[in-house]
Symmetry: C2
DNA sequence: CGTCCGTTTGAGGATCATCAATGTCCGTGG
DNA sequence: CCACGGACATTGATGATCCTCAAACGGACG
């Protein structure tokens, strides 16, 4: 735990930049944070380095902070009575997470890869947002963006066919991380089990779907955590809602 | 279209009241709107009365306003190339809707029942939110609440069994409208087709599932738009994530 | 009272879950 | 550096569930 200094604050900027408009089309583009706002966020943020598979917080525990993902991948999971597990969401760089209700976190949240986090105590954040409406507007835009993503993912989950779901998941990953290597190479940091729990499929179904996509020369599978899009047209056709 | 006067403004208050905390547990309860804030919202709102099956806005059209649902049920749908249709969300009383991207609405949105709407031009709303951080905080809470709902519904859609999905949908309806008649009687304003398009099932599957629930004496079906929960325990067991 | 739309019910086929066995990657320790 | 162990992943066979196609039923409205 180290206090955010002036340098790392820059890392926070992308979090709140280039965010699509609020609930709707604002004619003026959302402005960047001012230096003063950056300092404000930095002053309440604590930087954390988390190791893979570490628990960031548990469901039902008191929710005293929200988090901004600086780097790496995080998952929020729900444990079911039947012993099954569901991945509610993956959180990528620049995502804001820490959803709670009645003062308690909703879903146990775990690092998938090595992760850099910024921890924002809610009381401090609340004060900052109420004192700086422009800053609050950035957060409003961010939450709205996550709402849009969640709605989109609902559409993804309506599909019942395994191949379509997997294709849309890959598509989702590709959007998340434009920092990919040449020509549609996509990093897939999570396990097949995680993918299955996110898509509502079994591990076997995910495996069969990816194999089928490879067999059809739509994707190439390089090891476990790296895939490549070979046939962009057919891939888009699958990922685009049928 | 009539301008909101002082009286109807009271209708808006519940919209922004009793909203669970921001992203997490704030120790202080979210305060109500002040009279001045109510006037502020009222001054930019236009009240609309919409007839069933009327289109409120179309996907891709310029998004110049967001809407608060004052009464009735609204659905946002996505038309697919295959001719199929998916219901992205139902919007109930006090919901905020009008999700857009790059200045254009994402989903065609249609009244299911007779609906009372408050139309808030985004530029006016933006100005109001930036000038009144407390008011903006109410909206932030509301959007966060809708994010929470969307996440929860993602979990609903991960289930593949028809009976479970239908049970969870009924559960969702029950939560939405606590203004129900005696003993678990629930109003079901939308058609079976709408339910199917929301749940990612076929109309037949929804019909079979409801029939099965009735056969097992878990629900009673009174006509097309009214159902009753007979066996609360078994109903909750089904609706609770398996 | 009749039509139309929404709904229910039925039979056959496709897809995914389940159970089971085998294969592969990766980190650990010798 | 190599060998080993365990977790992760692939592949196969069987059964359950839902989708598709099809027909009959019922309520709402003119």
């Amino acid at each position: 735990m180290e206090l955010l200094l002036e340098r790392p604050v820059v890392d926070l900027v992308p979090t709140l930049r280039a965010i699509p408009s609020f609930e709707t089309g604002l004619t003026t583009p959302t402005p960047l944070l001012t230096p003063a706002q950056r300092r404000r966020v930095a002053s309440i943020a604590t930087k954390l380095e988390i190791r893979p598979r570490s628990v960031i917080y548990r469901a039902e525990s008191p929710a005293q902070a929200v988090f901004i993902n600086g780097a790496g991948v995080v998952k929020s999971v729900q444990e079911l009575a039947s012993g099954r597990r569901r991945v509610v969401a993956f959180w990528f760089a620049r995502d804001l997470f820490g959803l709670a209700e009645d003062g308690r976190f909703l879903y146990t949240t775990i690092a998938v890869t090595p992760v850099t986090l910024y921890r924002l105590p809610v009381e401090d954040l609340r004060r900052a947002l109420l004192e700086d409406a422009q800053l609050q507007f950035q957060f409003l835009c961010k939450v709205t963006h996550e709402l849009r993503e969640a709605q989109h993912q609902k559409l993804l989950l309506i599909r019942k066919d395994a191949i379509g779901r997997v294709a849309m998941f890959v598509h989702l990953l590709e959007k998340q991380d434009p920092v990919v290597a040449p020509a549609g190479t996509i990093d897939l940091p999570m396990t097949r089990s995680d993918v299955a729990d996110f898509l509502g499929l079994t591990l076997e179904a995910v495996s069969r779907a990816t194999s089928e996509l490879a067999r059809q020369r739509i994707l190439a599978i390089h090891g476990r955590h790296r895939i490549q899009i070979l046939d962009r047209a057919r891939f888009e056709a699958l990922a685009g809602q049928v």
